[in-house]
C-alpha cells in the first residue's frame, strides 16, 4: 500500500449507533489501527481516535471548537463548548472564577463531605447498595447543584435531567443526506429543557433582583455594568452544558473508578488502606473509562492535512477522548485498569483552550466522595450476583454497581 492509498473502510458502513453505545471500543480500536482520522458514516462526521491526532487537533491553531449537530440541537447557541473568540472568552470568564483551584480549595471540603456523608448514612447499615444511583450520581449532582444555586431542586430531578439531556445530545445518528436519523430522540431533551426553564427562570428573576453567592447569580452579574445582567438566553445553553456533563461526569468517574478497582481487588485494598492513593485511582479510572467519551468536536478553519488526510476548511472532527485513552501506542494493555501503570497524562478532560473548565472541582468532588465511601465501608465488595454493564458512546459509565458488605 502506498501512503496515498486510503485503507478500505467500508466496514464502517455496518457500524450502528447501538453498537457504539453498547461498546465503542472494538470499532475505535480498528479505527486507531487503520485510520486515526476517518469519516464515520453513521455519525456523519470525521472522527479522531488516537491520542496523537486528538491532541494535535485539540491544540491546533488551524481548528476551533464546534458543537456536534445533535449537541447543538439539544443545547442551542451559544454553548461554551461550541463557540470561539470573544464569546468563548466571555463565557469562560463567566464560569471560571468559581472553578479556580484557589477558590475551590476554600469550600470544596465543606461542600462535598457533608453531602457524601448524608447519602452514606442512608444506606451504610444496609449491607448492600447500588452505588451509581445511591451514591455516585447523588453526590455528583448535589455538590454541583448546591454550587450553582439549585438547592431546591431534588437530586433525583437533577439526575433525570442529565439522563434526558444525555440521550438527546448523543442522538447523533445521521442519514446519508445529513439529516438527523431519529428526530424523535430529541423530544425528551426538549421536555427536560422546558421543565428546567420552568424551575430556573424564576430563580433567574430572583437573582437579577437579589444577587447571591450562587454560581448562576454570578454568571448573571459578574463583569456587567451596574444595573445590567447577562441575557438569560445567552447563558442557558451553558447552563445546559452544566446540567448535562458537569452534573453527570463526576458520578461516571467515581463509578468507573470503583468498577476498575473491583477488577483488581488487591489494588482496591491498597486504596482503601491508603486514602492518599484515591486521586491516582481516579486518574486511572477516568483514563480507563473516560466519562466524556466522544462528545465534543473541532472544525478546521483552513484547509489542513492531519494524519495524512486532507481536510477542506470547515470540516468538523469529533474528538474521541475515550478512544485516545486506550491508544496502545501510548498505554500497555489499555483495557486493563491498573493503578500502578506508568502514570502518563491522559485526555479524559480534553485539551487546548476548550479543555474541561471543571477539572479541579471534579477531581476533588470525586476524591472526597470516594474517601468518605471507603472510610464508612472499608469492607466494600462487588455483589457478584449482579453484572456490571457500561453504556454510552458520547458519555460513558457503568449503568449500575451493586455492592455488599458485612454490617
Amino acid at each position: 500500500m502506498t501512503t496515498t492509498e486510503r485503507p478500505d473502510l467500508s466496514w464502517l458502513d455496518e457500524v450502528t449507533m447501538a453498537d457504539l453505545e453498547r461498546n465503542p471500543y472494538a470499532t475505535y480500536e480498528r479505527l486507531r489501527a487503520e485510520a486515526p482520522l476517518a469519516y464515520v458514516p453513521v455519525l456523519g462526521s470525521y472522527v479522531a481516535s488516537t491520542e496523537e491526532v486528538c491532541r494535535e487537533i485539540a491544540t491546533s491553531p488551524d481548528f476551533e471548537a464546534v458543537i456536534t449537530p445533535a449537541g447543538g440541537r439539544t443545547f442551542g447557541h451559544p454553548a461554551v463548548i461550541g463557540v470561539n473568540g470573544d464569546v468563548h472568552a466571555d463565557l469562560r470568564t463567566m464560569i471560571e472564577p468559581a472553578l479556580q483551584p484557589a477558590e475551590v480549595d476554600r469550600w470544596i471540603d465543606d461542600l462535598v463531605r457533608p453531602i457524601a456523608r448524608r447519602y452514606l448514612e442512608q444506606f451504610e447499615s444496609d449491607g448492600q447498595a447500588e452505588l451509581v444511583a445511591q451514591f455516585c450520581e447523588p453526590v455528583s449532582v448535589r455538590s454541583l447543584g448546591d454550587l450553582l444555586g439549585l438547592q431546591d431542586v431534588e437530586s433525583d430531578k437533577l439526575r433525570e435531567w442529565f439522563a434526558k439531556l444525555n440521550r438527546s445530545f448523543t442522538n447523533a445518528e445521521m442519514t446519508a443526506d445529513g439529516e438527523f436519523a431519529n428526530p424523535e430522540g430529541f423530544v425528551e431533551g426538549d421536555e427536560a429543557k422546558a421543565e428546567i426553564r420552568s424551575i430556573v427562570d424564576p430563580l433567574i428573576d430572583k437573582w437579577i433582583e437579589h444577587p447571591d453567592d450562587s454560581a448562576i447569580s454570578h454568571w448573571l452579574h459578574d463583569g456587567m455594568p451596574p444595573g445590567q445582567t447577562r441575557d438569560r438566553e445567552y447563558i442557558y445553553p451553558t447552563i445546559y452544558v452544566y446540567l448535562l456533563g458537569a452534573m453527570q461526569e463526576p458520578g461516571h468517574g467515581m463509578a468507573s473508578t470503583l468498577v476498575g478497582l473491583f477488577s483488581r481487588p488487591e489494588q482496591l485494598e491498597e486504596v482503601v488502606d491508603d486514602p492518599t492513593l484515591v486521586p491516582r485511582a481516579i486518574a486511572e479510572g477516568v483514563r480507563w473509562t473516560s466519562p466524556i467519551w466522544s462528545a465534543t468536536a473541532r472544525i478546521s478553519t483552513k484547509p489542513v492535512t492531519v494524519a495524512g488526510v486532507d481536510l477542506p476548511e470547515g470540516t468538523p472532527v469529533m474528538m474521541s477522548y475515550g478512544s485516545a485513552n486506550h491508544d496502545t501506542g501510548r498505554y500497555e494493555a489499555p483495557t486493563t485498569y491498573d493503578l500502578h501503570r506508568p502514570p502518563l497524562p491522559h485526555l479524559a478532560f480534553g485539551a487546548g483552550n476548550h479543555a474541561c473548565a471543571g477539572i479541579y472541582f471534579a477531581n476533588h468532588t470525586m476524591r472526597i466522595a470516594l474517601e468518605e465511601l471507603f472510610e464508612a465501608i472499608p469492607n466494600l465488595e462487588r455483589d457478584t450476583r449482579e453484572g456490571v454493564e457500561f453504556w454510552g458512546w458520547g458519555f460513558r459509565g457503568p449503568t449500575s454497581l451493586h455492592v455488599t458488605w458485612e454490617v
Binding site: 483551584p101 488502606d273 502518563l344 477539572i359 479541579y360 472510610e375 464508612a376
Partner: protein, 336 residues
C-alpha cells in the same frame, strides 16, 4: 544539564528545560495532574527547597500570592537547580522526636516466658520518644542492626524496656541477646524510630481502641495502652495478646491490673496452638471479630508478625474500622 528533584523521599533527574511533572511521571513517580497545560491547577505543589522557573504558568491558575508562598505548577515549572517538592494536601512533616545514637547499659535480663526475655537498658541521658516507638540495637561484632519496640510510656525515659523473642539461629537473638548478654554490658543503640504511636494528646478524643499484639508484639502496646488510659481513664479498650501456648504469655498481672484500675478495659489472652483451660483458643484477630460487632469510630493497633498484622487489618475493616485509624507495626525480619 540535569537537576535532582526530590518528592516524598524519592529523587528523580529533571532536565533544565523539562517540566517537573514530566520528569516525575517518566521516572514512575506519580503526582496529581490532569490538563498538562497549566490551566487546571491539579498539579499545584509546594516547593520546599530550591528555585523553579514558573515558565508559562498562567496567573489565573497560579496567583502571585501563591508564587510568593512557594507554590508551583508541576506541569509548567522548570528547575533552576536541585529542588525539593511537597505535594499539596500533605502536611509538613510533624516535628519528630530527634533521632540519637546512644550507648546504653544493660540493667536487667530476665526470662519472662518461653523463649522470651525482658531486657532493661539504662541511659545516661533521658530519651524523648512517644510510647510505641522503637530503637535499633547494634549487634556487637556483626555490625547488624535489629529493631526492638519500647514498652515504656514517654515519662519512663531513662530505662528502656524491651521484650525479645528468640529466633532460632538468629544473629541478634540466638547469637547475642539470648546468649551471653549480661548485666553491665554496653550496647550501641539509636532511636527513637517509627510512627507507631498515639496522636498528640490534643488530637486524642478518647475514643474506643482495640490493640492486638502477637508474641512480643505486645511490647509497644504496653506503652501505648497505659498512655491512652492516663489521658482518658474512662475510654473503652480491648487488648488481645496472641501466643501459641500458655507458656508464652507474660505480663498478665500487669495487664490484669489495668482492668482493675480502669473501668472499661478488657484484656484477652488467646492461645493459637496449645489450648489450655480458661483461655480463649484461636487467633486473636478472629477473637476480635467474635467479640466486637462494630468498630466504627474505633482506632486499632496491630503489632507482631506481618501475617498477623495483615489478618488484623482485614478483621478491623470487616468490622468497619476506617483504615486511616488502623495503626500497624510489623516485626519484619531483617532479611525479608
Amino acid at each position: 544539564m540535569t537537576f535532582a528533584v526530590t518528592v516524598g523521599g524519592r529523587s528523580v533527574e529533571c532536565g533544565e528545560d523539562q517540566a517537573l511533572l514530566d520528569a516525575c511521571l517518566r521516572a514512575g513517580v506519580w503526582m496529581p495532574n490532569s490538563c498538562n497545560q497549566g490551566t487546571c491547577g491539579t498539579c499545584k505543589l509546594h516547593v520546599v527547597a530550591g528555585e523553579v522557573d514558573h515558565g508559562s504558568s498562567p496567573v489565573e491558575t497560579l496567583s502571585d500570592e501563591e508564587r510568593c508562598a512557594g507554590m508551583a505548577l508541576a506541569c509548567q515549572a522548570r528547575p533552576r537547580g536541585d529542588v525539593e517538592l511537597r505535594p499539596q494536601g500533605t502536611s509538613a512533616a510533624r516535628t519528630a522526636n530527634p533521632l540519637r545514637d546512644m550507648v546504653a547499659t544493660v540493667r536487667e535480663v530476665s526470662d519472662i516466658a518461653r523463649d522470651t526475655r525482658r531486657i532493661l537498658l539504662g541511659l545516661n541521658e533521658p530519651l524523648t520518644f512517644d510510647a510505641g516507638q522503637y530503637v535499633e540495637l547494634v549487634v556487637p561484632g556483626s555490625g547488624e542492626r535489629r529493631q526492638y519496640s519500647l514498652a515504656n510510656t514517654a515519662d519512663e525515659d531513662k530505662v528502656l524496656e524491651l521484650h525479645v523473642k528468640l529466633v532460632p539461629g538468629g544473629v541478634a537473638t540466638h547469637g547475642w541477646l539470648f546468649d551471653g548478654l549480661a548485666e553491665g554490658d554496653r550496647v550501641d543503640i539509636s532511636g527513637p524510630l517509627g510512627d507507631f504511636h498515639l496522636p498528640p494528646e490534643s488530637e486524642d478524643d478518647g475514643g474506643p481502641m482495640v490493640l492486638i499484639g502477637g508474641g512480643t508484639g505486645l511490647a509497644p502496646l504496653v506503652g501505648i495502652v497505659r498512655t491512652a488510659l492516663r489521658r482518658h481513664p474512662e475510654r473503652e479498650v480491648v487488648l488481645y495478646h496472641g501466643v501459641r501456648g500458655e507458656e508464652e504469655l507474660y505480663d498478665g498481672d500487669r495487664l490484669t491490673e489495668l482492668t482493675e484500675q480502669y473501668p472499661n478495659v478488657r484484656f484477652v489472652p488467646v492461645l493459637s496452638h496449645e489450648p489450655a483451660d480458661g483461655y480463649r483458643e484461636g487467633f486473636p484477630t478472629d477473637a476480635f471479630v467474635e467479640d466486637v460487632p462494630s468498630a466504627r469510630g474505633w482506632t486499632g493497633w496491630l503489632c507482631g508478625p506481618p501475617a498477623m498484622v495483615e489478618a488484623g487489618v482485614k478483621a478491623f475493616k470487616r468490622r468497619r474500622m476506617a483504615p486511616r485509624n488502623i495503626h500497624r507495626e510489623k516485626f519484619t525480619p531483617a532479611d525479608a
